[in-house]
């Protein structure tokens, strides 16, 4: 992590219900200044509720939200220094691009010349300077999104919320926009909060990610730490590909019912009894003779150009084990492979009922 910066948003003990459904359950979070933050989770995890509370479209049942120390919840939506890029963009169909972008500035009662200048400037930033007079319906999906983005950042908010910013774009435009968002965030120096269910989207852009689970925050960390040091089996499973072994905690790792001792690391955590062992596919390797290993059968070989994935089976286990290797592999379907791994890269995690529900 870079030098410790100040918190912009402080969320404390936020709870919210929709009817009888608990959408947020005692959520506390800090979002730092100039940070690219992501709220990541499957649909129904409460991330959208949190976004709507931040934007002021929803008033929470309990808890507090402050922005730079000032209470947000008592502030109506139109008075908050927060702008939102809607998932559907929500552009005004009867206004052209210039009018859409100017709308927020006009509400601030800025002089006309200044509005014009800032609209032109922001449209240049998003590369739409020649579309000022176009209607939203005349633009492509990617262009519409740029207008939505321009309309949100032209107000120079303290916080920019982005609701599933890349979900509606096709693959090529997506990666373009991904870079663009990152560049913009550095350029304009606004705190970005992205809400997404797409871990790639979150992992590739965010400085820190909060993984949300059933209305609670599971873990808040950098993308690398989330991947390498998940604090729960749920998070480990949700982020990236993973292999899980279930067993009972022993000094060297876990003791599996049929495979015996599987070495792993608890990373200082106090875990006992039933536990999961998480190993990422790229941390598995073929054992040389004499090493402690588990025997597996190659069920399938998938070659992706830059890397290959071996799908391996163990007797008495239905879930396949994935092992990835750089480049091509010589392994053939039906061959036996002895697997081993660096115990430091295998993580012992407390038993998590939610993981088996996945």
């Amino acid at each position: 992590m870079t030098t410790e910066s100040k918190n912009l948003i402080e969320i404390k003990n936020l709870t919210h219900d929709y009817g009888s459904v608990r959408a947020l359950d005692n959520v506390s979070l800090e979002i730092r200044e100039n940070e690219f933050f992501a709220l990541l989770g499957p649909s129904g995890c409460g991330k959208t509720t949190l976004l709507r509370i931040l934007a002021g479209f929803e008033t929470p049942l309990e808890g507090s939200v402050t922005l730079a120390g000032v209470d947000l919840i008592s502030l109506p939506a139109n008075k908050r220094p927060i702008n939102l890029m809607f998932q559907s963009y929500a552009l005004f169909p009867h206004m052209n691009v210039g009018q859409n972008v100017a709308y927020g500035l006009e509400r601030e009662k800025l002089p006309k010349a200044q509005i014009k200048e800032r609209v032109e400037e922001v449209l240049k930033t998003v590369g739409l300077q020649d579309k000022v007079k176009a209607r939203p319906s005349q633009l492509s999906g990617g262009q519409r999104q740029r207008v939505a983005l321009a309309r949100a950042i032209v107000k120079r908010p303290k916080l920019l919320l982005l609701d599933e910013p890349l979900s509606a774009l096709d693959r090529k435009v997506r990666s373009e926009m991904q870079l663009e968002l990152k560049r913009l965030q550095l350029e304009v120096g606004i705190t970005f909060v992205v809400v997404t269910h797409d871990q790639e989207e979150a992992m590739s852009m965010a400085d820190r990610i909060a993984v949300m689970v059933e209305g609670t925050v599971g873990q808040v960390d950098s993308p690398v730490d989330l991947y390498q040091r998940p604090s729960t089996a749920y998070v480990g499973d949700f982020i990236g590909e993973s292999n899980f072994f279930d067993g009972v905690v022993v000094a060297e790792g876990i003791k599996h019912a049929s495979l015996g001792i599987l070495p792993g690391n608890r990373y200082g955590k106090d875990i006992s009894g039933e536990a999961h062992l998480l190993i990422r596919p790229e941390d598995l390797r073929v054992a040389v003779s004499g090493e402690h290993s588990i025997p597996t059968l190659v069920q399938d070989v998938q070659f992706y150009g830059g890397a290959s994935t071996l799908v391996l089976g163990i007797e008495g286990r239905s879930a396949p084990i994935l092992m990835s290797q750089p480049g091509a592999t010589t392994a053939q379907r039906g061959a036996m492979v002895n697997l081993t791994w660096d115990p430091l890269k295998a993580i012992v995690l407390p038993r998590d009922a939610r993981r088996s529900a996945l």
Binding site: A55, G56, F57, P76, A77, N78, K79, I82, N83, L84, F86, S88, A90, L91, F92, P93, H94, M95, Y103, G104, R107, E108, R135, S137, Q138, R151, A152, K155
Partner: protein, 298 residues
């Protein structure tokens, strides 16, 4: 490519098929318009330039007298009165209809259809009967006067019936659903996120209404206004029953010319003038709508 003849043949048969398809698809509409619109209007136009027969009917001697007579202040007055009454009715229908339609569109889905049925329910009863019932409500011995006197708000009954206001009330009552329905349709189509976007950009509720909701529902507003204004302009039942003959609208005048005065040519001229007015309003509507819809979908 090698045989231009064959392609020409197939193109010919294609053309024929095209023609057949068009006849099937457009024929019924064309027939309807010819029989129920073009023919009567043509007849009326022809009647208007001839002289009246002694006991009705037409004497085929051309004259312009019918037209000059229509410019008489008496008749022009009836026309402007009719425009005024229809205009007031339309404005009131907007004032009542817009909030109503808005409220219905914001109801939970299952209540919406119930509310819409309630809006349309009066149409299940004959217009004439419904207009008669207003006499019961408004006359000197009527329910309204009774109620007002009972609560000591007034001491002598008010002359509510047989006034221009009674005519406006009757027309408003009769045509309000025609304002609410198109308005509801356009309000219901509005993306609620646009309102949130406006708030997010700093707009107050009022500002969001005037800058988004109103322009984006303009087509429904215009359609509703046309639906209320035009039948109000030509209505003769309501002025007859609730206006008590004191308020004469152009519809009464036309009917009287045909049925009482037996002056078909003059009646035709008056009918033509109403048709011309309606036409002008449609053109206006078209122009306004084009402006808004080009804003919306260009």
């Amino acid at each position: 490519m090698t045989s231009p003849i064959r392609t020409r043949v197939s193109r010919d048969s294609e053309k024929r098929r095209d023609l057949l398809e068009r006849m099937v698809l457009q024929g019924p509409g064309f027939l309807f318009i010819t029989i129920f619109m073009a023919t009567p209007i043509t007849l009326v136009a022809i009647y208007s330039i001839f002289q009246r027969g002694r006991f009705g009917g037409i004497v085929y001697k051309a004259t312009t007298e019918n037209f000059t007579r229509a410019l008489d202040p008496v008749y022009l007055g009836v026309l402007t009165d009719s425009l005024k009454i229809a205009g007031i009715t339309t404005v009131l229908a907007i004032a009542i209809g817009y909030p109503t339609a808005y409220a219905i569109a914001k109801l939970p889905t299952k209540w919406r259809s119930i509310a819409l049925v309630l809006v349309v329910m009066p149409f299940w009863t004959n217009f004439l009967i419904r207009t008669y019932s207003w006499i019961m409500l408004l006359n000197r011995e009527g329910l309204l006067n009774h109620a007002l006197m009972k609560f000591n708000i007034i001491h002598t009954p008010l002359d509510l019936l047989y006034t221009q206001s009674a005519v406006v009330v009757g027309l408003l009552y009769g045509y309000l659903p025609l304002m609410i329905l198109p308005l509801y349709a356009s309000i219901e189509r509005l993306d609620p996120q646009l309102g949130e976007a406006a708030a997010n950009l700093g707009a107050t509720k009022a500002r969001a209404f005037f800058s988004l909701t109103l322009p984006l529902t303009a087509s429904g507003l215009i359609a509703g206004s046309i639906f209320v204004f035009i039948p109000s302009l030509g209505n003769f039942i309501v002025p007859e029953l609730l206006g008590g003959g004191k308020t004469v609208m152009v519809g009464n005048l036309i009917r009287d010319q045909f049925l009482k005065a037996r002056d078909w040519p003059f009646g035709s001229v008056l009918a033509l003038s109403v048709i011309a007015l309606v036409f002008i309003f449609f053109m206006l509507q078209n122009a306004v709508e084009k402006r808004f819809s080009s804003d919306a979908s260009e």
